[in-house]
């Protein structure tokens, strides 16, 4: 109860002090405002980056393996990889027959072509040829329509499923389903549209892709390509076992003798996340450290002004002590003043940082979750208490007799 009274009196005093010295309060708080704005913006950018990464990584599917010529994260040099044999479509049947721990295998062939619809076009759309199994062996979801049926897939029918960005470009005002687009001039009817994925990995998102049956793909765009084989693991808990099984199968298929290293990669989303995590941490640490410095400088400004404030009010401190204020009371009074100044700075800083983060969002992904807001406010409070402590302590320890004599 007493503490509440002290707090109230402290707040009252801070209010008067700030009002009496508006210019000074503004200038002092400015340091904190700038500090909070920069720290908050940095935190929102980092949070945005992490979220964008997570969304992008999710597109890879948590239980999907990608069998490719190379590993995503490796220390193999380009010379070694360049001369590797392609991954062949024929492997798919063999894998399906022999693998026990996987339950969906889809080949994905790849090329870049122009797609058009009427007067709309996309120059460099990523064309992928695959089977009807694809949806089960990927992490993507459809926003509209459907994927190929087994008949359409094995028959190489001229049907397609397009990504969200392709749909936006070619069909700004219509529903794409049922319409026929042209892929490098060839007609394909749209069966479905993927959900927008966004994200950091430009080529890997479905947004800019057009999926057609692989039989049609090979007939129109050539059959001697390197492909990716996407495989879904039946039981996500047995990911590691499935990986080992796949490695064994692939070595068998490729005819690699024991002792010879793999000439292919079995890639998983996990590898990306694991590679990204330390990078993200370093970026976050450096970023927050640098912006934290500006907050630190703001705190020093507060400490400086609080010292001045204490000296200015020496007489007042003497009076309060003569009337019976305890040391702790005087300490609280000035601590509250410093903390209140900083909290106001923090609130103003957040109010500025929010619209700014929306602007930054045009260039870098940002996200301002409630946690960033709460932490920023807490930080400003803590800065206030720490910066205010030494001056408040000095005030508390003043000798009342001398303080009363002060001019």
């Amino acid at each position: 109860m007493y503490y509440l009274l002290e707090l109230k009196e402290g707040l009252l005093i801070s209010f008067h002090a700030v009002r009496a010295n508006k210019m000074r309060s503004v200038l002092t708080t400015l340091g904190i405002v700038i500090g909070i704005v920069s720290v908050t913006l940095m935190a929102t950018a980092i949070e945005g980056l992490n979220r964008a990464f997570e969304r992008s990584a999710a597109a890879f599917g948590t239980d999907v393996m990608y069998i490719q010529r190379f590993s995503w994260v490796s220390n193999e040099d380009w010379a070694t990889i360049r001369n590797r044999r392609n991954i062949e479509v024929s492997y798919v049947n063999k894998i399906e027959r022999q693998s026990q721990l996987t339950d969906a295998v889809a080949p994905v062939a790849f090329t870049v072509r122009r797609v058009t619809y009427g007067s709309n076009s996309t120059e460099d759309a990523f064309i992928s040829g695959t089977t009807h199994v694809y949806m089960r062996a990927s992490g993507s979801t459809l926003a509209d329509g459907r994927f190929f049926s087994p008949e359409e897939s094995s028959g190489g029918r001229p049907v397609c499923v397009i990504g969200a960005t392709i749909a936006e470009n070619l069909f700004p005002r219509e529903d794409p389903i049922g319409k026929t687009i042209r892929v490098a001039g060839y007609p394909y009817m749209v069966l479905g549209v993927f959900e927008k994925q966004g994200g950091l990995f430009g080529t890997f998102t479905t947004d800019t892709r057009v999926f057609v049956p692989i039989n049609s793909f090979q007939a129109k765009f050539g059959g001697r390509r390197d492909i990716t084989i996407q495989v879904r693991v039946a039981d996500p808990k047995k990911m590691e076992d499935a990986r080992i099984e796949m490695e064994g199968l692939m070595r068998n298929i490729r005819g690699l003798p024991p002792g010879k290293p793999n000439d292919f990669g079995i890639n998983q989303q996990e590898a990306l996340t694991a590679a990204f995590a330390p990078i993200s941490l370093v970026i976050a640490s450096i970023g927050l450290f640098i912006t934290g410095l500006s907050l630190f400088v703001g705190g020093i400004g507060i400490m400086n002004i609080m010292f001045v404030s204490v000296t200015e009010r020496t007489r007042e401190i003497g009076i309060r002590k003569a009337i019976g204020a305890k040391r702790r009371t005087i300490l609280m009074q000035f601590l509250v003043e410093a903390a209140a100044l900083c909290l106001i700075g923090g609130i103003i800083g957040l109010a500025i940082a929010f619209p700014l983060s929306l602007i930054v969002d045009q260039f870098l992904p940002t996200a301002m979750p409630v946690s960033v807001v709460v932490v920023s406010l807490l930080i400003s409070l803590v800065v206030g208490v720490i910066s205010g402590f030494l001056p408040a302590y000095r005030a508390a320890r003043m000798d009342p007799v001398e303080a009363l004599r002060y001019e």
Binding site: M1, G324, L404
Partner: protein, 239 residues
């Protein structure tokens, strides 16, 4: 048992470089309840130091100070603060009011530090301000009040906790003679109402309002006598 019992109080200040100032060199004084005492002396006599010690703003280097029977000379900072808050009412020459707060808040302040609730505080503060005839100016700030009015606010602040003693340091020093007389009349009234008043001054004609004058010189009590020809206010005695 009196209110104040000072026995052989010594206060020495260490000014560094082996130089010491002997402000008080063995002062013994006893003051009873409802006395009206003036402490007089020239500059350097130690009267300010004695006042600070009586008021628990400072502690003696040696000697005992019994306040209402409690041994104050051994108390720590918080305990002294508590005594200052509840038992001692200061009145200063320069009024020492908080400039940005109104009269009511100034008078409330000791009650705030004493942990009294808001409603009770306001009631007592208003009552005390009425008592010193300032009931119509409770929301004025010090710069909106005359010198005499400011001193009344200070006196109200001193009274609001119903202290054991009222300690006044040159209370009329910053006032013209007419206003000064008004304030001394107020003190007389307060004395009649049962308060114990200790006045510190270097002016003889202010000291003559008290019943007893203690003269200090060079840190020692030079004389301690009842006043023979007092200045009184018959009107005050009647109220």
């Amino acid at each position: 048992m009196g209110v104040i019992g000072l026995t052989n109080i010594v206060k020495t200040y260490d000014m560094g470089e082996a130089e010491e100032v002997h402000a008080l060199q063995g002062v013994s004084v006893a003051i009873q309840e409802n006395e009206y005492v003036a402490i007089m002396g020239p500059s350097g006599s130690g009267k300010s130091t004695l006042m600070n010690i009586i008021g628990c703003l400072d502690t003696p280097t040696s000697g005992a100070y019994l306040f209402n029977g409690l041994n104050v000379s051994e108390m720590n900072d918080n305990e002294l603060a508590k005594i200052r808050n509840k038992e001692i009412g200061f009145v200063f020459q320069t009024f020492n009011l908080l400039p940005r707060s109104d009269a009511l808040h100034n008078v409330e302040l000791p009650l705030i530090y004493g942990g009294i609730s808001s409603g009770e505080r306001k009631r007592r503060a208003l009552e005390t301000l009425n008592h010193v005839q300032l009931g119509d100016r409770v929301h004025h700030k010090p710069n909106e009040l005359s010198g005499g009015q400011r001193q009344r606010v200070a006196i109200a602040r001193a009274l609001v906790t119903k202290p054991s003693i009222i300690l006044a340091d040159e209370p009329t020093g910053n006032l013209d003679s007419k206003t000064g007389e008004e304030i001394m009349m107020l003190f007389e009234e307060l004395h009649h109402q049962g308060n114990t008043i200790i006045l510190v001054t270097h002016e003889a004609d202010i000291a003559e309002h008290a019943h007893r004058v203690i003269r200090l010189r060079d840190g020692k009590v030079e004389s301690d006598q009842r006043v023979t020809r007092r200045k009184t206010y018959p009107a005050a005695a009647a109220s």
